[in-house]
Structure formats: structure tokens, C-alpha cells
């Protein structure tokens, strides 16, 4: 694998959803500017409905209907692994077949087996997705994204709706996987603890129409963030940054302590 990976410069003037069946058009993003450096683990957070998923879909190239510009450097068309909020596995293919599906050569089995083992799916490789637990299905989605050796990894609240222990195990797994591979990560979450635990840098979006209202680099090594006091201090700092743009009625969308 080449040690070079990809940086992104995002400059979205406006992203609107047209009104359907009498509904009013919605402006999801406006004047959103951000740049992500190669190899960075960038977490995007913000209140519900601030356009976090929309932003990922634009970066993924799924949504080209926006006003603005998006540039990748130095790789103009990076390989992108997308981990969606729901695993989105194809139900009529086994875990292994799901991963092989996205590989250009349908998957050399030795490499794929090594990845499955690394991600803890070796025993579930030939199982259909309907029989997987939530955690295992997330692992499969993670394996699929890593199988293509991505330059850029997009993650949209991938550990939502898992119990705390399972989500923690998956976060450690994710950090292990990214630390041994040259990959840039764009990770969306509304969970501030998750954000400060994972990020090199956190971008805070405003209520809709979303734009970047604050950023917070985290230089402390991840091993030192495990300490509860450090974690809550970082969280408080991030909370201070996010207080300002958050209207009181939108605070429900945030993970509150306790």
C-alpha cells in the first residue's frame, strides 16, 4: 500500500433539497468550508438535522446536486470506503460474498481471510446477514469498507444503536485498523464522548443550514484519553464550543452525561 493518502478541501456554497409534494424546500448546508489533511481522523459533530449525512454523501459522490466545490489532493479520485448508519449488507449474500462483491477481482481469498480474522469475522464468514447480531453486522460493514484498501473512509454514526460495551469494542477495533493503514477518516457522530475519544480534530456544525462553527484539534495521545477525568475535561471543552450555536430546543439531539 502506498504511504500517501488523501486530503480533502470542501467548499460548499449551498445544498438545497427541493420541496416534494407541497413540502417546502430545505437548505441543508450553507457556506460550509473545511479542509481535511491526509491521514487525519476528522470527526464531524453537530445537532440533529445539521446536514452531517448530506455532507458525507456529497464527499462520497452520491450527491452531486449542490453548489460549490470539492477537491481531493494529491489523489484526485480516491478509493472511498463508506460505512453507513445501517450496515447495508446485501441480504442474499454471505458476509464473505458481501465483501467480495465490492472487490474488483471478486476477492483473493487469502487476503480476505486475513482481514476477516483481523476484524473478528472468521467464524461468521459464511453466514447470511439476517443471522448476524447488530455488532457483527457493523463489523461486516467495517470489513467491507477496509477490504478495498480505501484512501478515504467515510463513517456515518456507524456505532449508533449498539450497547455501550459493543460500541467500545468496535471503536478500539477501528483505531487499531486505522493505525496500521494510511487512511484519512471522516467520521460523523453526535456523541461527544465518542468524538473526543477518536478524533485528531473535531469540526462542529451549526444547526441547519449547516456550516462549520468551531473546530477543536486534540493532540493528546489516544491512550491517555481513556482516563475518565481527561475524557470529561475534553468533553466539557467541546461542549463549550458547541453551546454557542445550539438553540435550547435542539439540545435533545446531543448525548447528555449520565
Amino acid at each position: 500500500m502506498a504511504p500517501v493518502t488523501v486530503g480533502i478541501s470542501i467548499d460548499i456554497y449551498e445544498k438545497r433539497y427541493p420541496g416534494h409534494a407541497g413540502a417546502k424546500p430545505v437548505t441543508a448546508l450553507r457556506n460550509l468550508r473545511a479542509s481535511v489533511t491526509p491521514g487525519e481522523f476528522c470527526v464531524i459533530t453537530g445537532p440533529s438535522g445539521c446536514g452531517k449525512t448530506t455532507l458525507l454523501n456529497i464527499v462520497a459522490g452520491l450527491d452531486r446536486n449542490f453548489v460549490g466545490a470539492l477537491h481531493f489532493e494529491p489523489i484526485p479520485a480516491p478509493r472511498i470506503g463508506y460505512v453507513f448508519q445501517n450496515p447495508r449488507l446485501v441480504p442474499w449474500r454471505t458476509v464473505r460474498e458481501n465483501i467480495a462483491l465490492v472487490l474488483p477481482n471478486q476477492g483473493g481469498s487469502a487476503e480476505l481471510d486475513a482481514l476477516l480474522t483481523e476484524i473478528g469475522l472468521a467464524d461468521a464468514a459464511d453466514v447470511y446477514p439476517t443471522r448476524l447480531s447488530g455488532g457483527m453486522a457493523r463489523r461486516a460493514a467495517l470489513a467491507r469498507a477496509f477490504a478495498i484498501a480505501p484512501d478515504l473512509l467515510l463513517m456515518d454514526e456507524p456505532f449508533l444503536s449498539l450497547d455501550a460495551a459493543a460500541a467500545d469494542r468496535l471503536r478500539s477495533l477501528l483505531l487499531r485498523l486505522t493505525s496500521t493503514r494510511p487512511v484519512t477518516v471522516l467520521f460523523v457522530t453526535h456523541d461527544l464522548t465518542e468524538a473526543v475519544g477518536l478524533a485528531d480534530r473535531i469540526l462542529v456544525l451549526s444547526p441547519p443550514p449547516g456550516r462549520v462553527v468551531a473546530e477543536m484539534p486534540i493532540t493528546l495521545p489516544r491512550s491517555k484519553r481513556r482516563d475518565p477525568d481527561t475524557l470529561s475535561a475534553l468533553r466539557a471543552e467541546l461542549g463549550g464550543l458547541t453551546d454557542h450555536p445550539v438553540a435550547p430546543e435542539l439540545e435533545d439531539g446531543w448525548d447528555t452525561p449520565g
Binding site: Y82, V90, P91, W92, L101, V102, R131, I148
Partner: protein
């Protein structure tokens, strides 16, 4: 169509099927015995006639001609109907443009279509195939349009973001979602098509089961009429049990 769960089909349902077929034959035989008429032969007589006609008569010739027509019309209606149905689901313009034509065809009796095409194209093979295909086409279109409208957008986005390309997306993501609709269209299609083929043969062709039935009708030869019909029913049942149902089990084996 209701049936037992996919795990319970063998051998219990095989025995069940045999019992159901045998009891039908028994009721038939008993009814014929009570009727005691040349115009209502029993199961045994008809089966003997069937074997005799297959060995020494023209049954196999007429049967193969009819089956070939069924196969061609079925394949045409399924292929064209699937393409049109998916196109209508994906494009509002195409849907609006073709919808009234589909409603017209759905409600036009097969008999009218067959007579008109025989008038316009002569009593030809082409006219028969066209008439049968057109009679079946609208139900395939409507079924596949419904199916294509339910295609999962999330999976389509997944396929797009991982650059699966249109062929692999169609083959591995879209078609499996459409397979229940294709199966429904096949089932109802087979039943509908062979009925229409017989009518069209009776009206304007010099061979096939429909033609033979017409001859036996004119001769009041109920014994052979029933033998020919039975041969056809046996073939259709064999397709249902031997092809469609195993195919359905194969396609749905990923479900728990």
C-alpha cells in the same frame, strides 16, 4: 399463493402431493362410474388413451408444437415486459406515456387480440405468437413495475459508492430484489399463456393441442379430448414442481 415453509417440503409434501393427485383421480373414476356415459370416460380409460396416443397417435407432435409456442411467447412476454416495467418504474415520463396502453391491453380480451392479429397478419405463426405475447405482456409490465418501485435506495447508494458498476449492481443487487416479482409473473404467466395459446390454435392454426381439441369436439370424442388436455396439465405441473418451485427455494434460501 400459500404453501408450507421452505424447510417442510420434502418428503412430507411429496407424499401430500401424491395423495392429492390420487384422490382427484379416484373422485374422477367414481364420478365416471356413476355417470356411465360415453361422454364422461373415467380416469383409467383416459390414461390408457393418453399412453396409446403418445405411442401411436399424434399427441407428441401436437404437444411439442404447443409447448414451443408457449415457450416462445412466454420468453418474449417476460423479457419485453420486464424491460418496459423497470423503465416505467424509473422514469415518470415513460410511465405516463405507456400507462394508458398498458391499461388498454390489460382489459382487451385475448380473443379480440387473436382475431384482430389473424385478420391483419393472416393465419400465421407470427400472428399467434404476437397475440399470445401481447395478451400476457401487460401483467408482466405491471408486476415488474411494482417490483422496481420497491427497490431499496440504500442498497443502490451502497452499490454506487463502492463503484460496483451497472452490470454487477443489476446482477447482485437489483435482480435478487426483483426475483419474487419475476416468479409471480412467471407463475401467472404460464397459466395464462397456455390457455390463450389453445384458443389461438383453435382459431387459426392447423396443429397444436388447441387444434386437436377442436377436431375431437367436432367428433364428440371426449375420451381423446380429455387425454390431450391431461397430457398438457401434466407438463404444466411438471414445470411448476420441477422448475418454478425449486427455483423459488433456491432464490429465497438466504431468508431464515
Amino acid at each position: 399463493m400459500t404453501r408450507e415453509g421452505p424447510t417442510a417440503w420434502f418428503p412430507a409434501s411429496l407424499a401430500g402431493r401424491a395423495a392429492s393427485v390420487l384422490s382427484l383421480l379416484a373422485i374422477w373414476e367414481a364420478a365416471a362410474w356413476f355417470a356411465h356415459s360415453r361422454l364422461f370416460p373415467g380416469a383409467g380409460t383416459v390414461l390408457a388413451t393418453l399412453v396409446d396416443e403418445a405411442m401411436h397417435g399424434e399427441l407428441l407432435h401436437h404437444l411439442s408444437v404447443t409447448l414451443a409456442r408457449v415457450a416462445v411467447a412466454f420468453a418474449l412476454a417476460m423479457a419485453v415486459g420486464t424491460v418496459i416495467g423497470i423503465a416505467m418504474a424509473r422514469s415518470r415520463a415513460i410511465d405516463t406515456m405507456l400507462d394508458s396502453g398498458i391499461v388498454l391491453l390489460l382489459n382487451l380480451p385475448a380473443l379480440v387480440i387473436a382475431v384482430l392479429l389473424y385478420v391483419w397478419l393472416g393465419l400465421t405463426e407470427t400472428a399467434l405468437i404476437a397475440a399470445v405475447t401481447l395478451s400476457k405482456l401487460p401483467t408482466v409490465v405491471v408486476t415488474l413495475r411494482e417490483g422496481a418501485r420497491t427497490l431499496d435506495r440504500d442498497l443502490a447508494d451502497m452499490a454506487k459508492s463502492f463503484h460496483l458498476g451497472s452490470w454487477r449492481t443489476l446482477r447482485h443487487v437489483s435482480l435478487p430484489q426483483l426475483s419474487p416479482f419475476l416468479l409471480v409473473a412467471s407463475r401467472t404467466g404460464l397459466a395464462l399463456i397456455w390457455k390463450i395459446v389453445l384458443v389461438a390454435e383453435l382459431l387459426g392454426r392447423p396443429d397444436g393441442i388447441g387444434y386437436a381439441i377442436q377436431i375431437f369436439f367436432q367428433l364428440f370424442d371426449v375420451r381423446r379430448l380429455m387425454a390431450y388436455a391431461l397430457a398438457f396439465v401434466a407438463v404444466v405441473l411438471a414445470i411448476e414442481w420441477g422448475v418454478l418451485q425449486p427455483l423459488e427455494r433456491r432464490l429465497t434460501r438466504w431468508r431464515r
